[in-house]
Symmetry: C2
């Protein structure tokens, strides 16, 4: 089993006991999360962007228009320092005191340098994997990118090296003094799902909902 290194950078200042360093946990969170959040610095000002992403082996890949901020930065200097985070919130944890309220969650934080992927075949394959992550089966139905579209797409790689997960599960942890309080305590699960596909207004008659959009509940 792959285990990432525990370093000062990957040790949380709060609740270090919730940290996880095994690749199985890190990968499963990254593979389940639809969007992540990329932080970078422009002229000393911190920036944060939501973005789709896909993990392939030991890297995550993001894509931007070549005109977008991170891609323009990357052209100026190779390997821009970033931090990337993806979080799944699984439940609201209701304790007898508001101070002890919490959330059950699974998150991953990656630090590292984001670099442009130049190789055309690799870009094409990463974009295919991104589509397959979000809607498995879709890449064999929709038209794939042509060379011009690939050139307009900046695909960026962030290696999973300085990385850790943080996981909270289970019941609230209450103070002893609150245990006699007549107050409900427990967890409210948060649910994620997909609704029935809504056809585009200009969809040709006779094109039915494809089998790969059948009932499924990944978030």
């Amino acid at each position: 089993m792959t285990v990432y290194e525990r370093t000062p950078e990957t040790t949380p200042s709060r609740h270090p006991e919730r940290a996880r360093y095994d690749a199985d946990t890190v990968h499963s969170i990254l593979d389940e999360a639809l969007i992540g959040h990329l932080a970078f610095v422009v002229d000393d000002v911190p920036q944060v962007l939501p973005t789709l992403f896909v993990r392939v082996d030991e890297s995550i890949f993001l894509h931007f228009s070549t005109g977008a901020g991170p891609a323009r930065l990357a052209k100026r200097r190779w390997g821009i320092p970033v931090s990337f985070e993806a979080t799944l919130v699984d439940g609201l944890v209701l304790a007898r005191s508001t101070f002890n309220h919490s959330a059950n969650y699974r998150s991953v934080v990656v630090h590292g340098k984001l670099s442009l992927v130049d190789d055309k075949a690799r870009k094409r394959e990463v974009m295919r994997q991104l589509v397959e992550k979000i809607v498995p089966g879709r890449s064999e139905d929709a038209r794939g990118p042509d060379d011009r579209e690939l050139r307009q797409t900046a695909v960026m790689e962030l290696p999973l090296e300085t990385v850790s997960a943080k996981v909270r599960t289970g019941d609230p942890k209450d103070d002893a003094r609150d245990m006699k309080r007549e107050c409900w305590a427990g967890v409210v699960p948060l649910l994620y799902g997909r609704g029935a596909p809504v056809p585009a207004a200009d969809l040709g008659a006779g094109i039915t909902i494809p089998r790969y959009l059948g009932p499924q509940t990944p978030r």
Copy 2:
């Protein structure tokens, strides 16, 4: 109607036509989003943290343990520059080409300086509003924070001044050349809900699920 100023900092480099500057849109996104993502810089390295938050009037408020990174930073220098983002993903937009795939979303980005709230009464009120945002009715049931707990909580304020929303809705936008393709196109809605509350293992017999945890579907 309050409208925030459009500045270079709040004009997206991509799809500026999706930007929204009215307070109604910005507030509604912030009030619906459970978590946000805070970016800040420590020793030239960008950091990003997921966090619960609440909007009150024209500020958002975050809270951390006084030992956590942002609170420690704020003690060192008043007003740390941050960027904060909250995103709701409403649907997957499936076009006839993978290049034109997209997502329907509503997001808010705030730039500004995060500062500590010192006033005890204000801290208490903000924490109450945070609880009420997430579980309306809860703050009248669970025990509120005592003075020691309040001292352990760093409440931080970020004013809604340099702020904008970005919204995408509706159908895919396809190239003319792809319109004859026999490929389903449309939107897959993403759904968010709350499951049945799960009582804590140590919950006293006879304490039933409170009325304020009844059926509801905010995310």
